[in-house]
């Protein structure tokens, strides 16, 4: 048995009403309602957070590290996601927000946007040695999309960028530079990502493409929002902690990475259902000239993350405004070459397919199960109502074949069955009376 996978997305059983909202929205069909409560199938969940967004009872939530965990370390470094900058109105510069983080109790800040600048340069270097058959390069910035590809588009895995995420790069550099400057040991320093989503939290605990994360914890934007907003007011204009370019800051919005990496023959798509549709096209080889593909699970990109406070569209505009106050040079010119040579920016492990959709390891057995499944599916009403607790009639048939559901869980079949039984009872009553 494989060890239980870590997931940030969790269910609060007390709050769950057993409705079908999350069931119908899950892009990997990872939710079932059984016994009046939702259940998440660990092997299939990609931590995209769609269920968090749609649950009106707030029964789905993202587990993140509480702010107090930073006290595990003597020295604490904040790694703000660029989307954090979009959470506040009336902020004149990125530096103001970074200063607020120091006031919150962090010893240093290192912008993930600056990590994005370095990743931008690394990806552009990488693209120089690519042959057209390796196109399109698929962004790895959204971990939910990488996991989606593992589950639903395994044949596209070789196209995923083999450079670590900006948050990882930021953590590596932040830690090393801090230790060198202050002459302290790395074990005394903790790097904390301020996250807009559950997917990044999972990526910290359970990285894709490399073994251990350089990030020590992920703190929800929602948790620190109030505190940080209060600290922004007292701003001293003479300190400027911001080092990211406007391109790096722009990664908060969907399309920002594309603009930095490869504005020509590229595509940025947001919203997981839209991403799925375009990945289907890539899979069919329909987008032959596409060089770079950026997909974000959330509408608008990271600014639309489930753990953000501000409306994603408002945040998007705030980011655009703040981009103007940042260094306008392209990362190619702004990023020192030494960052590309001194740090291990590339991933070290091949990203492997997630076979959670597979019916059986043995193909003959899988075929038998599929035939049985299709036979069952034909006898189902095809309403995809979700009353049985599976998202569609097809998945219900699959669940029966896998032994996780019973045909009588379908209320329509049950109703028909009851009608027949009632009829028989009447007939039986008649015969016994005579």
């Amino acid at each position: 048995m494989e060890e239980r996978r870590y997931h940030s997305v969790r269910l609060d059983k007390e709050k769950c009403k057993g409705c079908t909202n999350c069931l119908k929205r899950c892009p990997t069909e990872a939710i079932r309602v059984r016994g009046g409560r939702a259940h998440i199938i660990d092997e299939r969940c990609i931590d995209c957070g769609e269920c968090i967004r749609v649950c009106e009872f707030h029964a789905k939530y993202a587990q993140t590290d509480p702010l107090a965990t930073i006290n595990r370390f003597k020295y604490k470094i904040a790694l703000p996601a660029p989307s954090l900058y979009g959470q506040f109105k009336h902020v004149a510069s990125v530096g103001q927000i970074l200063e607020g983080l120091l006031k919150m109790g962090f010893d240093d800040v290192f912008e993930v946007a600056a990590g994005a600048d370095i990743v931008t340069r690394a990806i552009r270097e990488r693209m120089r040695n690519m042959t057209p058959d390796q196109y399109p390069l698929i962004s790895s910035a959204c971990p939910a999309i990488t996991r989606l590809i593992q589950v639903r588009f395994p044949e596209l895995l070789p196209h995923i960028v083999d450079i670590r995420q900006p948050m990882e790069v930021a953590a590596m550099i932040a830690k090393r530079e801090f230790c060198q400057a202050r002459d302290v040991d790395e074990s005394e320093v903790g790097c904390f990502f301020i996250t807009p989503c559950a997917a990044k939290m999972t990526a910290v605990r359970n990285p894709i493409g490399h073994e251990k994360s350089a990030v020590d914890g992920a703190i929800s934007m929602l948790e620190i929002y109030g505190l940080l907003a209060g600290l922004l007011k007292k701003h001293s204009a003479d300190v400027n902690l911001s080092r990211a370019t406007s391109f790096g800051v722009g990664w908060a919005n969907n399309g920002g990475e594309t603009l930095s990496v490869s504005p020509e023959n590229s595509m940025a798509v947001d919203g997981i259902e839209n991403v799925i549709r375009v990945l289907e096209e890539i899979e069919n080889n329909k987008l032959r000239d596409l060089v770079f593909f950026e997909g974000a699970a959330c509408i608008g990109g990271c600014v639309g993350g489930p753990l953000t406070f501000e409306n994603g569209y408002i945040a998007r505009n705030s980011i655009r405004t703040l981009m103007k106050s940042a260094d306008v040079r392209h990362p190619d010119d702004a990023v020192k070459t030494s960052y590309l040579t001194k740090y291990a920016l590339h991933t070290t492990q091949r990203i492997t397919p997630n076979s959670a959709m597979k019916l059986d390891d043995d193909i003959a057995e899988a075929m038998r199960k599929m035939e049985l499944m299709e036979q069952i599916e034909k006898s189902l009403p095809g309403y995809d109502c979700g009353s049985c607790g599976s998202p569609t009639c097809r998945t219900f048939a699959e669940d029966i074949v896998r032994g996780h559901a019973d045909k009588m869980d379908c209320i329509h079949i049950l109703k028909d069955q009851l009608k027949i039984m009632a009829q028989r009872m009447v007939e039986l009553a008649k015969t016994t009376r005579e």
Binding site: R152, P154, N285, S355, E371
Partner: protein
Amino acid sequence: MQQHAMMDVFNITALDYASAGDASATIKRKLKQLGIDSTVLRRIAVASYEAELNLIIHSMGGTLTLSITTTEIKLVSRDVGPGIPDIERALQEGYSTANAEARNMGFGAGMGLPNMRRNADDFTIESEMGKGTQIQMRFAI
């Protein structure tokens, strides 16, 4: 030895752009559930999509048949006409007879048949004017 086999027949209607890609999407989903290796799957995905689109754009309607055994996957495209006048030319990359409507929709790059031939382990095509075209593709798994 008698092998376990499955067969599906998809009916494809001429000029039915609204359903374009449905059959190949179903084929892909099935193969993923059966655990077919992802590199083989990609080749079948491309070939089945091209075959389906060819039936919609060029034929007068037909069928796409998927047969699966434990050792190979077979795709057969059959249509009821009009037939291909010059197969050698149709197999050339970049040669297309797609009309303006199809080209406006992004089709007609002249890669349909070449892509099918390139991705299949085994590819045969027979066509008779006025009767129809039959394409057989085999993929070892």
